[in-house]
């Protein structure tokens, strides 16, 4: 990246940078609303092109650096603004079932991918079975929800624990193998898991299972919200809960990244041998990352299962694991905001391009290949770790 002398000065002045940052959040919110509202394919295509032009223009004008500075210097304010933006989007689409379903799916995918990111982006543990652990969460929700009287809110963490427990079967081979040999362990597990679900009659076989709804303090999540004149789709319940879950996962990921835990994980990924010379036990952090990541994936899966209320083995194939993985790689390994951007793109774009519904997998795969060829570090690569709170890169 080119470092112009005046841009360094611009990052020092907090006023304009913050303005740019808040303006960007407002613009982005409007953009997402416009994007979700547009029905016509030509409008969608126009909006996509407009986004590309806008990002390029902002880069040329140096606004992106100011945006970065605003986020760095006023993180809390920016987080609040973004949260407000997410709520505004929800308010605009409060009566629209399908849009809310899409947005909630995107948030749950992002939660799961944050888990995958701890494994892959921080610690370098390969996991090609993301969708399988997602599926463990879903099936836990289905079985516990219909067979037991456990409160649904408690089922979410249990789904995560189950995913971590199932994952613990793989801990020994994952620890002992490296590189391509490690890939085969989780790939084999992904195929095994799907085949197992397919042939196991107790879990519904190929037809799958239905998942009971989420309910909180006697409030069933599958009923629309109607208070006087106010009406909102029942997906709003799931939207808000998924948002809470996402905030939790986000906060956890950021805390992990900035703490000594994240430092140890980074060291493990970059050079195991060097890390162990400095007293870091690589296997300890690999196990931690693998379990924690699978837990997050499982929790997200349990809530998604409750929301879509019906699950089948076909939802948890190896190809779905690849979608999770490509979100992490598209966004940029280890980059939290990159993953946010990529989950929105991966979930929303195919739905909006209904015209090319038939070709979406083809286009999507081609897009991933192009990104890997021309932007191998992802759309929003992870920045360099700031070791000291007020340290600024020169």
């Amino acid at each position: 990246m080119s470092t112009k002398p005046e841009s360094g000065a611009a990052t020092r002045a907090p006023g304009p940078a913050l303005l740019v940052g808040l303006g960007a959040v407002v613009l982005l919110t409007c953009y997402i609303v416009a994007f979700l509202m547009s029905e016509d394919e030509s409008v969608v295509a126009g909006l996509i092109v407009a986004a590309g032009v806008a990002v390029l223009g902002a880069y040329v004008l140096g606004l992106l650096q100011q945006l970065r500075a605003a986020y760095r210097d006023h993180e809390r304010l920016m987080h609040a603004a973004i949260l407000l933006g997410i709520l505004v989007v929800a308010w605009v689409f409060r009566e629209d079932h399908f849009t809310l379903l899409m947005l909630t799916t995107a948030m749950l995918y992002m939660t799961a991918c944050l888990g995958l990111n701890i494994q892959l982006g921080y610690t370098g543990v390969l996991n090609f079975a993301g969708a399988s652990f997602f599926g463990v969460g879903c099936y836990t929700a289905a079985v516990l929800g219909s067979e037991t009287a456990i409160p649904p809110l408690l089922i979410l963490p249990i789904g995560g624990v189950m995913a971590a427990l199932v994952g613990s079967i793989l801990v020994i081979p994952v620890l002992r193998t490296r590189g391509h040999y490690a890939a085969v362990v989780t790939i084999a597990f992904a195929v095994l898991f799907r085949t197992f679900l397919q042939v196991n009659d107790a879990l519904g076989g190929p037809q799958g299972l239905s998942v009971p709804q989420m309910s909180l303090f006697g409030w069933g999540f599958n009923s629309n919200i109607e208070v006087g004149d106010f009406y909102a789709s029942f997906y709003m319940n799931y939207y808000l809960l998924a948002l809470l879950l996402l905030i939790g996962a986000f906060a956890l990921t950021r805390r992990v990244e900035r703490s000594w835990v994240g430092l140890s994980m980074d060291a493990t990924r970059i050079d195991e041998l060097a890390a162990s010379c400095f007293g870091i036990t690589p296997s300890r952090w690999k196990i931690t990352a693998f379990m924690l990541g699978n837990f997050m994936i499982g929790v997200a899966g349990a809530l998604l299962g409750m929301m879509i209320s019906f699950i089948a083995p076909a939802n948890f194939t190896f190809a779905d694991s690849l979608i999770f993985l490509s979100i992490v790689l598209l966004g940029g390994m280890g980059s939290v905001w990159g993953i946010a951007l990529a989950s929105v793109i991966v979930v929303l774009l195919p739905e909006k391009l209904q015209m090319i519904q038939e070709y979406r997998f083809l286009l999507f795969s081609a897009l991933v290949i192009l990104v890997l060829l021309f932007r191998p570090n992802g759309l929003l690569p992870r920045g360099r770790r700031a070791y000291f709170p007020d340290w600024r890169p020169r």
């Binding site: 793989l170 890939a183 095994l192 490509s326 997998f361 795969s365 890997l372």
Partner: protein, 306 residues
Amino acid sequence: MDLSLLSQYVVNGMMLGMMYALVAVGFTLFFGVLDVIKFSHGDVLMVGAFAGYTTYLGLEAAGIHNPVVQVVLLVVASAAFVAALGAVIAKYLVLPLSNAPALNILLATLMLGTVLRESVRLFFPDGSNPKRFPRLLPDTVIPIGNFDLRVDSLMLLITGLLVIIAINTIINRTKLGLAIRAVAQDAETARTMGINFTLIVLVTFALGSSAAAIAGVMNGLYYNEINFGMGLLLGVIGFASAIVGGLGNIYGAILGGFLFATLQTVGAVAMPFASAYKDVFAFAVIIAIMAWRPTGLIPEKTSERV
């Protein structure tokens, strides 16, 4: 269990093992020269099967109905087309990425597999439905006791064996093979010795891909059906076989392929009450073997460099 049923299982298992071995050999060859995993290999196999099918349709349209001529031309055309495809993939996707992290290459080639799969589904006429592959080999049987050995199975097995022997001979007995082995051992030194690195890489990818094409045609001739999704599982199994055998070693790939087929067959025979679980069993054993021998049954010789 009576003997004829058991023999049936054995022949079927050997057939599967041969196909897996052919796929795994490709993986191990690619890994040898470039240290990369090209995961689109299974879908390349599928393209090979469809290329063979297209050749058959073309020959029928051209008025050539002699099955012997058809089979020969079909195999040759399929192998040649897929060899070219493999070389193109190597040149435009794998070589530009060869310095990227291993995961990027893995994902890029996986996505390429999706591109190939979807292209066949969307652009091949009526590609989303399974195609009936013609029965071109003689369907006579040789009775051994009360077991009927199908001649076509025997011919396919012999063909597979010949292909593997041919590849092994090329690698170990020819000048080209010497160059491939040199590049595999040390690309930089090989270059200074006057070996055309890019050419050797492309030839290796062509060679490995044509082995997959032959496996694809074998699959079509044996099951008399091909579909656009057939490559995915075969690719995963071939990859698992190459890894379990030990990457970069052609005997490891063959061992891995037959091991996987044996596991599937044993799973089906030993658990007649739950033969649907044979793939679960086979993959579980693969995971267990990886835990026991993390670098495969015939490991590469590596040492930790600091």
